[in-house]
């Protein structure tokens, strides 16, 4: 292990070490003072984020080409670390309130983030698989961490079973690709396909199976079935983390693998991605209408948003648009992460100890009793719908532009129509908040308030000055 290898994975190494030490340190922290663990975890994330940002603009290939540090990984890892910080912020008071405050909660989040970051830096299918497992297993545990609650346990076991099932497809896909090309390294796979040495059918089958694995992770149709149940059953703070973190990691891997390992079969894969995107948008948005539980509604909403990002990714078949597609995709991930964390923070504020307060009807009267919180919720709902002045609109704007430029008019049309449908259930929340009488009970907790407040401001302000953020996303290119 030379210095370059070390440097390329420096943030991951630091964070891994930090999490392992945190587990040990946590043993010496009193049960009543687990807040200290949270702060330490957050400090670790902040430190890692600093290291990551210090690596901005550098490109280092490490470990014999198995991992890479580049603009893309820096951008995605920053976003992942931000998600980790938000996850701790929303969990801090919530898990205490729900009586599930344990030291390992924070360590598990940190471990999961390590896996996610590794995913963004992977340059070899084996590393991809390892990263996938590294990020998934802590999530299984986190979903089931409220083990006194049957629903949480059910969520954990469902997630685990289906995750393992889809993980199997990934392994099988890796094997097929290896069989066809004789390598698991992206560069060599691509070279092999380009020179025509590889058996195309095998490569296609392998790529398709890998796609299934990532499709499962991001909740694309028809691999989305677990999402509503797990989102609903898992503790809300875990759901918030899953919704943002797992999606970011899944998409970054999808982009990385298909843009660098399989660029030459993109023409074959693109229609499949397009159809999956269309189905995902339709199913996610249509099914969300019928939901009465806000967590389930947001679960379907997250499926729908995965569809939008996939839609842009369908454009990656055109090499001229590949960079645009990727930057539009990761920009949308930023927008989604910010809006999503804000929304979940408010959901957590209204959730009561016995798990009540999660029906959409429970938001009635919020506009009167908590005007600021209702205003923030309004901003998030508008952003999720894609109405100005919010970041959601800007994200959709970039996405649709790429799709239209790639000549997928029918896909753009479906995207727009399903956005229209989504207005129904997002705006219904606003209507209920402001126009229905009710006395909603809310929890005032400073970190929660900070989260939804800051996210609301970011959603609006960044939408007014999106250019610099988009320029950063555009600069986050893969090498």
């Amino acid at each position: 292990m030379n210095q370059a290898d070390f440097y390329s994975l420096l943030p991951i190494i630091v964070l891994t070490t930090w999490s392992a030490l945190l587990l040990i340190v946590d043993l010496f922290i009193d049960d009543k003072k687990k807040g200290i663990t949270a702060v330490l975890a957050a400090a670790g994330l902040a430190l890692t984020m600093g290291l990551t940002l210090s690596q901005t603009g550098q490109t280092v290939i490490g470990f014999n080409g198995m991992v890479i540090l580049d603009g893309f990984s820096t951008f995605v890892n920053t976003l992942l670390l931000f998600s980790g910080l938000m996850a701790i912020s929303v969990a801090y008071g919530y898990i205490k309130r729900r009586g599930i405050e344990r030291g390992e909660y924070y360590s598990l989040i940190l471990f999961s983030i390590v896996g996610m970051m590794l995913m963004a830096q992977a340059r070899d299918l084996i590393v991809v698989f390892i990263a996938l497992e590294m990020l998934s297993i802590p999530l299984y545990v986190l979903a089931a961490i409220d083990n006194s609650n049957a629903k949480s346990e059910e969520a954990g076991i469902k997630y685990f079973l289906l995750g393992a099932f889809s993980g199997g497809f990934v392994v099988y896909g890796v094997a097929l690709v290896f069989g066809a090309t004789g390598s698991t390294a992206f560069a060599e796979i691509a070279a092999s396909i380009a020179t025509g040495n590889a058996e195309t059918l095998l490569v296609l089958a392998g790529a398709a199976l890998i796609l299934v694995g990532f499709g499962f992770k991001v909740g694309a149709v028809p691999f989305q079935m677990w999402t509503p149940d797990v989102y609903e059953g898992a503790p809300t703070s875990v759901t918030a983390f899953m919704a943002a973190g797992a999606k970011i990691a899944g998409f970054s891997a999808l982009m990385r693998v298909f843009a660098t390992a399989f660029p030459d079969i993109a023409v074959d894969i693109a229609p499949v991605l397009a159809v999956i995107a269309a189905l995902t948008m339709i199913v996610g948005n249509v099914a969300a209408i019928a939901q009465k539980n806000i967590k389930r509604m947001l679960a379907y909403s997250s499926i729908a948003h995965a569809g939008y990002i996939l839609m842009a990714f369908a454009a990656f078949a055109n090499p001229a648009l590949r960079d645009d597609a990727i930057s539009a995709g990761i920009f949308y991930l930023v927008a989604y992460a910010i809006t999503s964390f804000g929304t979940w923070a408010i959901v957590i504020s209204l959730e009561k100890e016995d798990g009540k307060g999660l029906a959409i009807e429970d938001y009635a009267g919020l506009g009167r009793t908590k005007p600021l919180m209702a205003a923030a919720m309004t901003i998030f709902m508008l952003s999720l719908t894609g109405i100005p002045p919010t970041l959601g609109l800007i994200g959709k704007l970039y996405l649709f532009r790429v799709v239209v430029e790639a000549q997928f008019m029918w896909l753009a049309l479906i995207g727009i129509l399903t956005s229209l449908i989504s207005a129904y259930y997002y705006l219904r929340v606003i209507v209920i908040m402001y126009m229905k009488e009710g006395e909603p009970e809310t929890v005032s907790e400073s970190w929660l308030t900070f989260t939804w407040g800051a996210m609301a401001v970011l959603t609006v302000v960044l939408s007014l000055i999106p250019a610099s953020l988009f320029a950063w996303a555009s600069g986050a290119l893969m090498k």
Binding site: I157, L162, S166, F169, A208, L209, V212, P222
Partner: protein
């Protein structure tokens, strides 16, 4: 302002824009800073602005004489450039415009100074000192507008000034808009302003038509361009139309038959306004317009004759009314109409120099007369004030308002004022003799020149001479009547006994005017013909007339006879308090007609105004409200629209469009429920779903 040019050439043509900018500057200064300035300072600023304008006019006259009266055009700014219409704001300096500038700014400055004294007392008597500043702002604005009028190089620029002075006239007639002429609360003055404005609108409409026709036919509104193409293509029909339309404008602005009715009412304005705007300057704009358009009028004799006849008829008609008036200013107002008739008759006959000559001398002596009349009125007011407060000893505002209404302008309240106001008396005498046309006063020379031209051109313009001669006779008569009634005999009221002379700030400008009224004839004395030679440079084909002792003799004798008759009637046996006019008996209904202005206002009321009101009422109530609003709008449009809206709303929108939308929503909702029901919670179903997905993707990729 083009100062370098001035220095280079030694002439002052470049200064001409200052004619407009000095009064504007004075106006703005008073508007902005006047609130904190004393009356004296405000008056001084305004007078200085007007005086500087006069200085510029003098410099221009000097420059013009040094360059042999050649036309100078000074470009100031681009104005309107649309299609064929290419007009700039260009100043026209020629001998005609300079005469007008000198008269307007010269007389204007004297009146400004006079007004400092006059308005000081006027605002005091009317308990509203805040209006002092407003008066001078308007007055400066008037001077600026008048300068634009006389210095414009195109009909449109002239029209800008024309409208501008009309506005000032309106504002100043209604200056005491909340009083009537007796100082009671009333809207009479405001209505007088309105009347002037509306009568002028009728005239302006004619002027506008003249301009439209001019532009349509000649493609320009610039004077030289119009005259040039008119002389090349003298189409008599078009030029007749233009000149006749223009004549309508002239009858409005210069108060000729049939649009003169506004001018007597305009006396509602403060007396300096009557003198400046409604005697000396603005009302002569029509005369100026005809002289300016001389090349057009020269081309069509028939129109010229109409112009001359209108002037002559107006001269006599107004003179007869003046005979029957009792208000000192009303007499002068009808006299002004009559004298404007002389000028219009002169310019109609092509005697442009005589017209302009009379315009100038009339400006001197009529301004003098009006201002002296103002001095008399104020003298009476002072007497009245003295009586009202002399007894009570303390200034009791209520007592002031409760007392009997007193008209300080009614000549029947005066008598023997020469004893109380000797200075004013002598000034008034000078003006009267000038107006009556007594040798060697200014009016004698100018009026004589008009009569001479009328006599010489009698075959082309039959009747004009006789009408004018009769008017001249009556002029001398009514002025004589006025003198005897006002200054001689016995005081008919207590107030007249206590009338007081005006201060020097008022009488000194009057002395200057009196000097001009006496010696103004020198402008164009037979033999020298200075004005004729001066205007030769601008107006084509003018030539000095020869002095005719016959004409001069006849008119002088007529005037003396008229004054003699007036002495017999009013001087020998002075009018006593409450006595009816001695003319009433011998003349009977004729005098009743004179007293009542020949019932012209009533006639207009019956023929035009009331039918117009009826028509307006019909249009507004019957047509607009009952028919248009109630029936058409409510019954037809509203009900029809409602029916259509109902149709569109119920069967179309609700039945078709909404049904489609509902159907779509229902479908979406049902599919949503269907999709949710797929979510049965069993992991095996979920795994199956994944498997189906895998199979379909692989199937597609491998089999395609």
């Amino acid at each position: 302002m083009n100062l370098s040019e001035t220095v280079n050439t030694g002439y002052f043509f470049g200064l001409v824009p200052l004619l407009v900018f000095f009064p504007i500057a004075g106006m703005l200064f008073n508007m902005i800073f006047g609130g904190k300035m004393s009356e004296k300072a405000i008056g001084t600023v305004a007078s200085a602005a007007s005086g500087l304008t006069f200085v510029v006019a003098v410099l221009l006259a000097y420059s013009l004489s040094a360059t042999h009266g050649e036309l100078h055009q000074v470009f100031l700014a681009e104005w309107i450039h649309i299609g064929e219409l290419q007009l700039d704001w260009t100043f026209r300096v020629d001998t005609l415009s300079v005469v007008m500038m000198l008269v307007v700014s010269g007389v204007g400055t004297l009146i400004h100074i006079y007004a400092i004294g006059y308005m000081h007392e006027d605002v005091r008597f009317k308990d509203d000192v805040r209006r002092f500043r407003r008066f001078f702002v308007f007055l400066n604005l008037f001077i600026a507008m008048m300068m634009i009028l006389v210095s414009g190089d195109s009909y449109l620029m002239l029209f800008v000034g024309w409208e501008g002075v009309g506005l000032c006239s309106f504002l100043l007639i209604g200056f005491w808009y909340d009083f009537n002429i007796l100082g009671q609360k009333s809207t009479e003055n405001a209505e007088a302003g309105k009347k002037a404005f509306i009568a002028n609108r009728v005239g302006d409409f004619g002027f506008l038509l003249a301009m439209f026709t001019t532009f349509w036919h000649f493609g320009s509104l610039q004077f030289d361009a119009v005259f040039e193409s008119a002389s090349h293509h003298p189409d008599p029909v078009v030029i007749s139309a233009i000149t006749l339309f223009m004549l309508i404008g002239v009858t409005g602005k210069s108060a000729q038959v049939p649009l003169y009715v506004w001018l007597p009412d305009a006396m509602a304005g403060p007396t300096p306004v009557s003198a400046l705007i409604h005697a000396a300057t603005m009302v002569t704009a029509g005369v100026y317009l005809v002289v300016r358009s001389a090349p057009l009028y020269n081309l069509v004799h028939s129109t010229s004759y109409i112009v001359a006849m209108i002037g002559a008829v107006t001269a006599l008609f107004a003179a007869t009314i003046a005979v029957g008036q009792y208000d000192i200013k009303k007499v002068l107002a009808y006299s002004t109409i009559s004298q404007l008739g002389f000028m219009v008759a002169a310019v109609g006959m092509g005697a442009y120099v005589a017209g302009i000559f009379h315009l100038a001398t009339h400006a001197f002596f009529k301004a003098l007369l009006f201002l002296s009349a103002g001095s008399i009125i104020l003298g009476m007011e002072r007497g009245h004030h003295h009586l009202a407060h002399g007894h009570g000893d303390h200034d009791d505002a209520d007592a002031h308002h409760d007392e009997e209404v007193f008209d300080p302008g009614d000549m029947r309240n005066m008598g023997n004022l020469r004893k109380q106001m000797p200075v004013t008396f002598w000034l008034y005498m000078a003006g009267t003799l000038a107006l009556a046309g007594i040798f060697p006063f200014a009016g004698f020379w100018s009026k004589d020149e008009i009569l001479l031209d009328a006599k010489l051109h009698a075959e082309h313009y039959p009747g004009v001479y006789w009408l004018l001669a009769a008017a001249a006779f009556l002029t001398a008569f009514y002025m004589g009547r006025q003198i005897w009634m006002v200054f001689f005999g016995k005081e008919r009221t207590e107030v007249a006994k206590h009338a007081q002379e005006s201060p020097p700030v008022m009488t000194v400008p009057l002395m200057v005017l009196a000097f001009l009224a006496v010696f103004g004839g020198a402008l164009n004395l037979p033999g020298s013909h200075a004005l004729t030679h001066w205007l030769e440079h601008t107006i084509e084909g003018v030539h000095a007339g020869e002095f005719d002792f016959m004409v001069a003799g006849v008119s002088t004798v007529l005037a003396l006879i008229a004054i003699g008759i007036s002495w017999l009637l009013y001087g020998k046996n002075p009018l006593k308090a409450g006595q009816i006019d001695p003319l009433k008996k011998p003349l009977g209904f004729v005098f009743t007609g004179m007293e009542n202005k020949w019932f012209v206002d009533e006639g207009y009321g019956a023929v035009i105004i009331r039918p117009f009101e009826k028509l307006a009422k019909f249009l507004s109530i019957d047509l607009d409200w009952n028919f248009w609003h109630d029936w058409f709008h409510n019954e037809v449009v509203y009900a029809g629209f409602q029916g259509l809206a109902k149709f569109l709303a119920d069967p179309v929108d609700m039945g078709i469009i909404n049904a489609i939308a509902d159907w779509l929503a229902e479908i979406t909702k049902r599919s949503s429920e269907k999709l949710s029901s797929l979510q049965n919670g069993f992991v095996r179903s979920y795994a199956l779903s994944v498997l189906v997905g895998v199979v379909m993707i692989l199937g597609y990729l491998l089999l395609k």
